[in-house]
Subunit: 145 residues, 2 copies
Amino acid sequence: MSDLLERLRGRGWRLTAQRRVVAEVLDGDHVHLTADEVHARAAARLPEISRATVYNTLGELVSLGEVLEVSTDGRAKRYDPNAHRPHQHLVCSRCGAIRDIHPGGNPLADLPAGERFGFTVSEVEVTYRGLCPGCARAAHGPDPA
Amino acid sequence: MSDLLERLRGRGWRLTAQRRVVAEVLDGDHVHLTADEVHARAAARLPEISRATVYNTLGELVSLGEVLEVSTDGRAKRYDPNAHRPHQHLVCSRCGAIRDIHPGGNPLADLPAGERFGFTVSEVEVTYRGLCPGCARAAHGPDPA
DNA sequence: TTCTTGACTTAGACTGTGTCTACTGTAGGA
DNA sequence: TCCTACAGTAGACACAGTCTAAGTCAAGAA
């Protein structure tokens, strides 16, 4: 993640304790935190950080292209630091767990011209839904209730 | 849409004026209204209908499988009556216009086993984003501002 | 090192979307 | 007609996110 901090400094980003903590919280693979979760984890290290700062910082990271905003459930948006490698999401319909996946192929090519309604199409978002291994076991196994 | 009303009656749904108006508002192709828009249009025909009734009725239509809930912008959910024909969405990133599209192929098959993390995958949601013809013209043409 | 400046942060009010609750209305059977 | 259960209502509440005004601080200049 120091890469990210370096890139941000290179872009003239003023580096404050708050921004550093938010960037650090977003480090890792398969990280998809809501703004409130980011705030909670940031506040564990820097108790006085405010919600507005977390929203501001997340918004800046998104517009700099360093973080992706994903909304898989129609509720809170989630923030995904894995922005430099195009990927899709696999979501558990029961517990909400999210995994990043990297299928081959280019889904944009699957859209025939006749279905484009004259749109200039530039992006595709693909979300696979199903049950994660744990929830599938719970659904099939002997019901302990 | 009288099909829908017939189906609902067949399921023992008590058909009231409020429910009929909500179902009628959702008639048509490429219809993707927010709950508030449904409420506004329903209230034009039945002024005393309440917001809670619109939410309740939409929720019932969704759980009966007659209407789909889609959230393309992370803001308000939209309700899509085109639930009996599997389809995907094409969204204008500028004005938010939504079109239903029906590409061939089965996107589920594009997900190799090695990328499934043990999930039992049952659905795919695909959203294409770009500019609709009107917004593309506005972006390219001589700026009238 | 100290000063200056403008960008950054803060608390809290505000908005939009959706849910819940307690009460009222009403369709249809006894 | 009366009863009962389901449907509808208004309004309070909850959650996610945005905005504002005022205070704070990082970083360059002297």
